[in-house]
């Protein structure tokens, strides 16, 4: 019984084959990392999983459901959440509002109730708020809770984006380069959080990451990609030592 599985995934943009016959399986509860040089097609795989682009070929299954024909919001409804490499927050809203939007898939009230703000809406709002406050506590965002995202420094925005994904209470969390642009201290926090998300929140993590320290620290298994194709898979140490991976990063030894 597979939790999340990708088979024979492929997409071309014009002449560029960005992802070619990629297949892998993520087990429930693990942290699975995709590495690869720039332009290897890692972000594209995430976009294909989120169904932002239609794949040219391949099959994506999540908890025995084939999701290829879904639309992005349906994927989110299944419990797959993601962050973006280049941060896609709701800029003109506060941190709190951003996280509350993350609760969207847990809404229970109808439009007419909201227009009247009935007691059931009030109760639901308070419940959502409590759920969001747990995330705020977890990620230590209390100080910036009421700040507009547009004014926050880069490192914090990354944390807010992680928080927003967590607020959806995902089963599978996709993180696109969680440490890029962070200083060593922030990276350390991030590693700590990812470990906690996996262990204590029981969320399966699928991650794209360049920082090999972070990768070795948090991942159970690693997939290496180059020019859209899989070149190695295994434990972090195995993949790092794999000749094809070394070649992809450093070029062929003379």
């Amino acid at each position: 019984m597979s939790f999340f599985k990708v088979e024979n995934l492929g997409i071309r943009f014009g002449g560029v084959v960005a992802v070619d016959k990629v297949g892998f399986e993520v087990r429930r509860g693990e942290c699975y990392t995709i590495i690869g040089p720039n332009g290897a097609g890692k972000t594209t795989i995430f976009n294909l999983i989120g169904l932002l682009y239609p794949a040219t070929s391949g099959k994506i299954t999540f908890e025995q459901k084939e999701i290829n024909s879904f639309s992005p919001h349906q994927v989110a409804d299944l419990g797959i959440a993601r962050t973006f490499q280049n941060i896609e927050l709701f800029e003109h809203a506060t941190v709190l509002q951003n996280l509350l939007i993350g609760r969207h898939r847990h809404r229970k009230t109808a439009l007419w109730q909201e227009l009247l703000f009935t007691p059931s809406v009030r109760a639901a709002e308070l419940a959502q708020r409590e759920a969001v406050e747990k995330v705020i506590d977890f990620l230590e965002l209390a100080k910036v809770r009421d700040n507009l995202v547009a004014g926050l420094p880069y490192g914090l925005r990354k944390v807010v984006e992680l928080g927003r994904a967590l607020a959806t209470e995902p089963k599978l969390l996709l993180l696109d380069e969680p440490s890029s642009g962070l200083n060593p201290e922030e990276t350390d926090d991030m590693a700590f959080w990812i470990e906690d998300i996996k262990r204590h929140l029981g969320v399966t993590v699928l991650m794209v990451e360049h920082d090999m320290n972070l990768v070795s620290r948090v991942s159970d298994r690693v997939l290496a990609l180059n020019l859209g194709s899989v070149i190695a898979e295994g434990t972090p140490a195995e993949v790092q030592a794999h000749p094809a991976v070394i070649e992809a990063y450093l070029g062929k030894a003379a």
Binding site: L52, I87, F90, R103, L116, R122, E125, A150
Partner: protein
């Protein structure tokens, strides 16, 4: 400077956040309720229009200010509301029913224009809604059997359960009550999941959809709600004028409506009211100014020119509108002398995922 100590999550969803709110809104309410005693006939008439335009402003604010969808065709929804009211009143339908139908028919029109709008953004959406507005204007001009064409339609004063609201004061209270109701509905919507989904769509469609927001559904909903409010405004507008004809629902009307939200401040409900008040008062200021200008220097199109100019100046220099300006002034005094110059400047973000656009 005011510090609000929060001890309870309910505090953040309460309408009046602190005593000051209660006081000022209470005062405003009292002044407005007493208007028939202090306002001249002329001012009363202006207040009617401000209420009506505020309702329409709320509608457009939901769509443009909160969902980020531009509309240059809102006069069409105003027309649907106005003609529904006129025809139903003529047919003897009670006011409560006819104004509800005005909202419902407008909402239906909103859904119809919302559907193609799902694929369009920015300037293309503006053009599509503009075309829609022109089409509706054309329909009401040509469909003379129903609308009377250019001869227009006359309306009698509103009658609720046999009570004729034929004085200025009575009609004013009706307008005021509906404005407050519509405002409350908007406020409620915006502090609920649907309102947040709208804001999400405005700020990043990609993120919104990855968080489970059904873009098609919520955009259509925004159009429908916006049109419904505009329809209510249209029904009152028809009663206010007592006579409607296609001339009142032209492109210029649509632009004027858009001016309300841009002047008032995109993304603030307060802005809708401020904007409405401004565009009602502006023509008076212009006509006063005309008196000062030398003969021949006051062309008849002056109003349109001034409107256009103000619109452009606001978009360039005060994108947050009158309400944004007020916020800045208030913050200045609250923080005095600690106000920093760049405080309201928003960090530019060059980091968006361009490839996903």
């Amino acid at each position: 400077m005011r510090f609000i100590f929060k001890t309870d999550y309910a505090q953040d969803i309460r309408l009046a956040k602190h005593g000051g709110h209660l006081f000022w809104y209470g005062l405003l309410g009292a002044i407005l309720l007493a208007a028939p005693w202090w306002a001249s006939e002329y001012v009363m008439s202006q207040l009617h229009f401000i209420c009506i335009y505020s309702i329409v402003g709320f509608g457009l604010m939901i769509l443009t200010g909160f969902t980020g969808q531009v509309s240059l065709g809102h006069a069409a929804f105003l027309a649907v509301g106005a003609y529904t009211e006129a025809l139903m009143q003529a047919a003897g339908v009670p006011f409560a029913v006819s104004i509800s139908c005005a909202a419902i028919f407008s909402a239906a029109a909103g859904i119809i224009i919302g559907l193609p709008a799902l694929r369009l953004k920015g300037i293309y959406l503006a053009i599509a809604t503009l075309a829609f507005g022109v089409v509706v204007e054309e329909i009401i001009t040509r469909w003379t059997k129903l609308t009377g064409g250019n001869e227009g339609k006359h309306l009698k004063p509103v009658e609720i359960l046999g009570w004729k609201l034929d004085s200025d004061a009575e009609f004013y209270y009706l307008c005021l009550a509906l404005t407050v109701l519509c405002c409350l509905a908007c406020v409620n919507l915006l502090r609920s999941p649907t309102g947040r989904a709208f804001v999400a769509i405005r700020d990043s469609e990609i993120s919104a959809s990855c968080l489970g927001v059904n873009l098609a559904k919520y955009k259509t909903m925004a159009f429908a709600i916006s049109a419904a409010l505009t329809g209510v405004g249209g029904a009152l507008y028809a009663h206010k004028l007592a006579f409607i004809s296609p001339e009142q629902f032209t492109l210029f009307q649509s632009i004027e409506l858009l001016t309300i939200v841009i002047l008032g401040g995109i993304g603030f409900l307060h802005g809708a009211v401020l904007g409405a008040a401004f565009i009602i008062v502006l023509p008076q200021l212009i006509s006063i100014a005309k008196g000062w200008l030398p003969e021949g220097m006051a062309p008849s199109g002056l109003q349109a020119v001034v409107f256009g100019l103000i619109l452009i100046l606001f978009i360039i220099f005060e994108p947050l509108g009158l309400y944004g300006r007020w916020l800045k002034v208030r913050t200045y005094f609250e923080l005095f002398p600690f106000y920093r110059k760049g405080m309201f400047r928003r960090q530019k973000s060059y980091m968006k995922s361009e490839r996903l656009r």
